[in-house]
């Protein structure tokens, strides 16, 4: 579905953000990318989305080399407050990308209603994003991505700006929509618990200039549960395995 080979990016030649990243994502997987702050997670995600042209390496999406934003891809940003358009309603925000898709108005309305229902926000379509709480706004952003019916959903720290309870709810929501819509999800996070809880596989990046330190397969049973899954022996083991991987070596400078 998605392959990344020897990805290298530097915003300025002296400052290499990612030096050599290689991994692939299979259809239907939820893959998390974790790593210390400043390791280029967001840069990597932007490159995957075709929003940024990397200085080296290749990215293939559905077999084709990514040059510019590919079709069949949606993205949810961390800053929901800036990514949702304040001058139009929730419905308007979800509809906007659909207007330029070859679908009928009836299909468009159906998708808006269905995606709002999937994030449990039916009846909020007429509201403006700024009239909703942070968690609800992020659900609108997820609904917008779902209505677009992407093959691949990219999420950049999607739950970093909401409170803990909302975060747990949103994590479960993402798992639920994956099961319902069968989309592939690549999620960038700095939260190890979240990555283990949500993913089929976790890709661990090193500090900048970053490369892949290792990949950890998570074989926890689904559907997962915030309390039960997190109490499982395997969850605890995987979590410490990842934590040890990204823990800074003794004597190195702090990374955050």
């Amino acid at each position: 579905m998605l392959t990344v080979e020897h990805l290298h990016h530097a915003y300025i030649p002296e400052h290499v953000v990612t030096s050599n990243i290689t991994f692939d994502v299979k259809a239907g997987e939820i893959v998390s990318i974790v790593g210390p702050s400043g390791c280029g997670k967001t840069t990597l995600l932007k490159a995957l989305a075709g929003l940024l042209k990397p200085t080296g390496g290749t990215i293939r999406f559905q077999g084709k080399v990514v040059q510019g934003v590919p079709d069949g891809l949606a993205i949810v940003f961390q800053e929901y407050g800036r990514s949702l358009l304040p001058w139009t309603t929730v419905d308007g925000n979800i509809e906007l990308p659909l207007r330029y898709q070859p679908i009928t108005p009836a299909e468009c309305r159906r998708r808006v209603a269905e995606s709002l229902q999937a994030v449990d926000l039916s009846g909020f379509g007429e509201r403006y994003p700024w009239q909703l709480s942070g968690g609800m706004q992020q659900r609108v952003a997820i609904a917008r991505a779902l209505a677009y019916q992407p093959k691949l959903l990219l999420m950049d720290e999607p739950f970093a700006s909401v409170d803990a309870q909302t975060r747990a709810d949103l994590e479960d929501l993402v798992a639920a929509v994956r099961d319902r819509f069968g989309i592939t999800i690549v999620l960038v996070t700095h939260d190890i618990d979240e990555s283990v809880y949500l993913s089929d596989r976790v890709i661990v990046l090193s500090r900048s200039p970053s490369s892949v330190l290792g990949q950890v397969n998570i074989e926890l049973p689904r559907p997962r549960d915030q309390v039960k899954t997190k109490a499982m022996q395997q969850f605890v083991e995987k979590r410490s395995e990842i934590a040890q991987m990204i823990r800074r070596p003794v004597g190195s400078e702090p990374y955050c």
Binding site: K46, A49, G50, L51, V69, D71, L73, A74, I75, F77, E79, G81, R82, S83, L85, P86, W87, T88, L96, P97, R99, Y100, Y128, P129, W130, Q131, R144, Y148
Partner: protein, 281 residues
């Protein structure tokens, strides 16, 4: 203490609250008119007639027409309406040229680098200084006056539009790019709405500039208009008439600003809402 406060509030009838808010809003204005009236009649100077006299004169000047013309007198059609048309025409022209030009310049780094020094230079020219030039080029009719108003008004609109279109949130732009919204639609759906609050701020500044420039343009080589009437009244020593014109200009400026704010509220309600929300949360 606090329960007492609530108690007192409850005892206030609605009408009292209405009176209170009216007093807060207009109290100072009314007080100033009363002081002016008292001081002016006491002083008895012909240069400073009391407001009652100005009002009386204003009614004879502008509201003594036949009922078939809504009591508006000839002077309204000869001076006030032409003045308003020039003002609005010049301002509208500035908006119609300034906004599209501003979007074009704001969206293109190269064009903006290329035009910016020239624009800054032109902007520094005080509009009234160009009246002699405009008279040579355009004569002394309305065209000259409308052009002057438009020239003066275009700068706030143009510069705010450039600024507004240039500072669109990069996350919003990434969002529309990621959803493959075509280029032409990005302009209408993202760039323009995002720039709207700044564009409106420019339009409002321009509106008050338009009133000033309208008066200035009518002080030179004119035969009609409110500015012309004020100057003419002064020359003919009709000082009450002169004051009538000045008060009328204040009223026009105030009303235009009020109307514009109502319009802005309609178009930019989302902006106020979104800003209020982030300010409190």
């Amino acid at each position: 203490m606090s329960t007492e406060g609530i108690e007192i509030d409850r005892w206030h009838p609605r009408a009292f609250n209405a009176i209170q808010s009216f007093a807060v809003r207009y109290g100072l204005g009314i007080a100033l008119v009363i002081v002016w009236e008292y001081a002016a009649s006491k002083a008895g100077s012909i240069f400073f007639p009391p407001p009652s006299e100005i009002l009386h004169r204003a009614v004879t000047l502008w509201l003594s027409g036949p009922p078939s013309r809504l009591f508006l007198s000839g002077s309204v059609f000869q001076d006030v309406i032409p003045s308003l048309l020039r003002l609005l025409g010049g301002w509208a022209l500035a908006v119609l040229v300034g906004v599209p030009l501003g979007i074009l310049i704001g969206r293109s780094r190269n064009l903006s680098d290329f035009l910016n020094p020239a624009l800054q230079f032109l902007r520094a020219i005080p509009g009234p200084a160009l009246i002699p030039v405009f008279i040579i080029l355009l004569g002394t009719e309305s065209t000259m006056r409308v052009t002057l108003i438009a020239f003066g008004c275009i700068w706030p609109v143009l510069l705010n539009t450039i600024e507004g279109t240039r500072t669109v949130d990069p996350v919003q732009l990434d969002t529309v790019k990621a959803f493959r919204i075509p280029r032409h639609a990005r302009l209408w759906r993202i760039v323009l709405p995002a720039a709207m609050p700044k564009i409106f701020a420019g339009m409002r500044v321009s509106l008050s500039l338009a009133v000033i420039l309208m008066v200035v343009s009518e002080l030179v080589a004119s035969t009609s208009g409110i500015g012309y009437r004020i100057q003419n009244a002064q020359i003919m020593f009709l000082l009450t008439d002169m004051w009538c014109g000045i008060v009328l200009l204040a009223l026009i400026g105030y009303t235009l600003n009020w109307l514009f704010l109502k319009f802005e509220d309609r178009v930019l309600g989302w902006h106020r809402g979104a800003r209020g929300r982030t300010a409190t949360s």
